[in-house]
Amino acid sequence: MTFPEPILALVAVCLPLLYPAMALRSDWRRVMRYILPVLPLPALLLASCGDPSWQLELPWLLNGGLWALDDLRRLFLLLTAVLWTVAGVYAVGYLAESHIRRFCVCWGLTLAGNLGLTVAVDIGSFYSFFALMTFAGYGLIVHEGTDEAHYAGRVYMAMAVLGEMSILAGLLLAASAADSQLLTDLPAALAQAQQRDLIIALLIAGFGVKAGLPLLHFWLPLAHPVAPTPASAVLSGAMIKAGLLGWLVTLPFGEIGLSGWGALMVAAGAVGALGAAILGVLQHRPKAVLAYSSISQMGLMVLMVGAALADPERAPVLFSVIGLYALHHGLAKGSLFLSAGVSLPASRMGQTMIWILIALPGLSLAGLPFTSGALAKLAMKAGLAEDSLSFALAGCLPPLMTAGAIATLLLVLRYLWTLSAKLETGQTPPMLTAGWLAAVAASLIAFWWMPWDLAGLVKAPVWLPAPYQIWALVWPMLIALALAGLAVLLCRNSRSAALGAKPH
Amino acid sequence: MTSYLLYALAGAALCGIGLFGLLRLSHLLRKLLAFNIMGSGVFLIMVGLPQHQSGPDPVPQALVLTGIVVAIAATALAVVLIRRYYHQSGMTSLEGEAGSREGGPL
């Protein structure tokens, strides 16, 4: 391509950053909502067809700014842009009139932060965009203004501020250890820093708040259900991934093997993946279920992060796997969240159509063959294959992954179950439907044309898994289905028993 | 020599008496008289003390003359004030004034 990427990057970040200024004119509120889907488009352009090897020097910015893109960041940028676009389309149909300006302002700022932190390479602007996203996100969470929302918001804010602070401290220490203002110098410096463990702890905790690390996750299940649906879609689709990105760009991957930290992260990931599932299936509100599912999915990614921490040689491979997985999960989870807002058409035919479309991304999460999920799961398997990994907990990774897969499907089924209880037939606003359909399409189809690459992890063509792989994918799903069926039966019986016990 | 000293001592005694009167007596006229007594004591010392081998010294005499004039002027003023004060307040002493923490002549 021949258009100047740096300019495009500047536009991509500044458009949503300056868009809130429209709110100053009260008579522009009509227009504002229709601009929402437009905001991420430059970023989308940059991520999809821009050639990733560009740099933008902003010497006047903060402590000297540098923006650039590499493959990993490009993937995250793409995910962010796509998700925010479809969510924006969805929001146009979804939003009510009340406080629309406020919502649009927060939306724009959060988006700007989310995009900016993916392209920022210098510490100053990275941290700025991260904080911008955090604080503006508050506005999205409490938008509905219910007491529940305010409570969720308070929890979110408290944890977010704590997270910001530990990030600040960590970055300060790291920067002075590296004596540089660029993220790219941190890992190497961290490897030698004498306060290494302190810094790593601070950074893991700080970004962990966003990434929903176990014990730092409390805000997620509170925030997602109360937030407006498009907001929760981007929250768990894109913003969670920001924490992940934070880890990936700051921690000393590939420099030294930190088996201790690796083990810790793996353990955390395991707890997240399974514990969240257990808590999730007990939820009654669909979006709460999805929130827990996000936590458990993040848990799986944390597994990989831990492995990468522990094993420097393996890190590059795992990075691309993590990227892939993040992309897949973001899109699928986004479309799942958006599906929580649709309402069924009258016709039976249509209903089944809708249900299939709702279910497919979920199943793809669970690794249904011929979906991005299948690819991601296989790639993860390959990435975490124990023979190629050399650290303590390597042995227990495969069973964990299997358990994770089961948990995933269980959660998805639980979600569908609760949703079926909640969905009612009615007229869906066209834009809303459009957004949702776009999301589904992105997660199921467009995914295959996205610029992820997996250096020989899985046999090509990827969307045609070999039979042994199919089996590997399917049997956990069968177990999950069996469990689900069992659960259904049980509660049926108990209910009928209750009915039987009732005196006539 | 001793006679001069005698003058001086007498003067000193007068001074003492005058001072006592000025501080102790409450009637204003008496205060005034006490002042005059004290003054004459001072003058006595003045002419008495400075004596030289060359007989009496003329300068103190001149000075004392002036001093007497000043004393007379002061006395006159004081008398005027006291009379007027008596007419205004009917009191002949400074005591018994209300609402002031000041007492005594100083």
């Binding site: - | 001086a8 001074c15 005058g18 001072l19 000025l22 204003l28 205060k31 002042f35 004290m38 003054g39 001072v42 010392i45 003045m46 003390l49 400075p50 030289h52 010294d57 300068v59 103190p60 001149a62 000075l63 002036t66 001093g67 000043v70 002027a73 002061a74 003023l77 004081a78 004030l81 006291i82 007027r84 004060y85 205004q88 307040s89 009191m91 400074l94 004034e97 002031s100 000041e102 007492g103 005594g104 002549p105 100083l106």
Partner: protein
């Protein structure tokens, strides 16, 4: 030239005193304006002469000491002459408008005013002890007369008390003079110093010095001999109080200071010096404390005079047996203190007079809202206050700075504490007044507006007091070595 100046300086006041005796108040005012003009011009001329050619001795009518009157015209003296001219003319102009011309006895204001002025000039210039005594008496008597002008019983009581105190003081001083003369056979300060320089100090004259200084301290109202002052200054008419506080008390202090600096080293003792200093410090604290307690505006100002006078007596410890430079600093500091206090206190009394005139009551709490109705006078009051609190950039601050330097330089740090405490205490009682005037209470909205001239005069004085801080170096340089005994023509 000099002859004319001296003649003008010494005899115009007397002449005008006689002249104004013959006129009524209004005419007296007109005459006085001319006289003030003459006096100011003459004082200025003399000051310039000395500033150019240095000080000199002047034998009045060619008669030398001891029988003749020998005048000592040095930088310090002419500075004080000039100061007198400034303050006295301000008070005179103010009084001309302020004093009610319909009371018949008020016509005596003018002669008394002029006698006072001539007495002051005599004291500043007087070179020998006895002439100083005469000048002192002249001042005291006319001052008493001025206080008595109030006419009512309280004024008379105050004036009588003042008179008795003054007489006692001057008798004590005269006694001291007698002893000195008996000892040294001369009355000229310079002569005595010369005698002391080539003889060893005898024991007797210590008593003489003590007597004189005690008498003068009584006239200067040094604590605990201060009790006559507040009623007198408080009850007199504002211009009169201004004259009294600004100049009259300074005259007696001036003599005491000159005596101390001349004889102190040889006749005084460390204990005596510290003792006087201690009394001064006590005066600062006690006077300020009482000032905080007063309910009447002018009483506050009067007690602040008691406190401010306390500073002056720090001269005694700070110049006794200390290095030359420290002593010099102390003298300069005290001189500045005298000048700035004279200007500031005059301004303050005049401004207070205006305030009282406008609110129609002399109580402090009656001042509520005056800051809205009479801001100008209040502002001059405030400026004068700045100098009294010895806050920068006033002359009071310059003085305080020098005194601090002196006390720290001579290792007598406790005087530094006294100075600082005094500043804070003065702030305490002055801000009481500002506080009252800033208060807003709607029910008192009847304010009489005095004429502009009444308001401008104190402002001028206050600004002078304030500006003194910036030009103090020049002022000090003109009065080359303050209190310098040598300076023969």
């Amino acid at each position: 030239m000099t002859l004319w100046l001296m003649a003008g300086l010494l005899f115009t006041p007397l002449a005008w005193a006689v002249l104004t005796l013959l006129t009524d108040f209004v005419w007296g005012r007109r005459v006085t304006w001319v006289g003030i003009l003459v006096q100011v011009l003459v004082s200025l001329g003399l000051w310039l002469t000395v500033a150019q050619h240095g000080g000199f001795y002047y034998d009045l009518g060619g008669w030398g000491a001891p029988l003749g009157i020998e005048l000592r015209v040095d930088g310090l003296a002419v500075t004080f002459v000039l100061l007198t001219a400034a303050v006295a003319s301000a008070c005179g102009l103010h009084a001309g408008v302020y004093i009610d011309q319909h009371k018949p006895w008020h016509r005596y204001f003018w002669p008394l005013f002029w006698f006072l002025w001539s007495g002051l000039n005599a004291v500043w210039l007087g070179g020998d002890l006895f002439n100083l005594y005469v000048g002192l008496e002249l001042i005291s008597l006319s001052a008493v007369g001025l206080v008595a002008l109030g006419g009512n019983a309280n004024a008379l009581r105050a004036s009588i008390r003042y008179l008795l105190a003054a007489l006692l003081g001057s008798l004590a001083y005269l006694l001291g003079v007698a002893l000195i003369y008996g000892q040294f056979g001369t009355l000229s300060i310079a002569g005595v110093v010369a005698w002391l320089d080539n003889h060893s100090a005898p024991a007797g004259p210590g008593l003489a010095l003590a007597l004189m200084i005690t008498g003068l301290a009584l006239k200067t109202a040094l604590f605990p001999l201060h009790r006559w002052l507040p009623p007198a200054h408080g009850i007199a008419k504002s211009p009169v109080s201004a004259l009294l506080s600004a100049l009259v008390v300074k005259a007696s202090f001036y003599i005491a200071a000159r005596l101390w600096l001349a004889f102190g080293e040889s006749l005084g003792s460390l204990a005596a010096a510290q003792m006087v200093g201690l009394l001064g410090g006590a005066a600062v604290v006690w006077g300020s404390w009482l000032a905080c307690k007063q309910a009447q505006l002018k009483q506050v100002v009067a007690y602040s005079s008691v406190a401010q006078i306390g500073y002056l007596f720090l001269l005694f410890p700070l110049t006794y047996s200390v290095s030359e430079s420290v002593s010099l600093q102390a003298q300069q500091g005290i001189t500045l203190q005298v000048i700035s206090h004279a200007l500031a206190k005059a301004a303050m009394f005049l401004a207070a007079g205006n305030l009282i005139l406008s609110v129609g009551s002399s109580r402090i709490d009656a001042l509520a809202g005056v800051s809205r109705f009479l801001p100008f006078s209040l502002f001059s009051f405030g400026l004068a206050g700045v100098s009294l609190m010895s806050l920068p950039p006033s002359g009071g601050f310059a003085a305080k700075w020098l005194l601090l330097q002196a006390s720290l330089g001579s290792g007598q740090w406790w005087w530094a504490l006294v100075l600082l405490a005094g500043g804070l205490l003065s702030a305490a009682y002055l801000f009481r007044i500002y506080r009252a005037s800033f208060a807003e209470n709607p029910e008192t909205d009847q304010f009489f507006h005095p004429s502009k001239s009444l308001e401008i005069i104190p402002m001028v004085l206050a600004v002078m007091a304030l500006g003194l801080g910036f030009v103090s170096e020049q002022v000090l340089s003109v009065m080359a070595l303050p209190f310098a005994e040598e300076g023969a023509p």
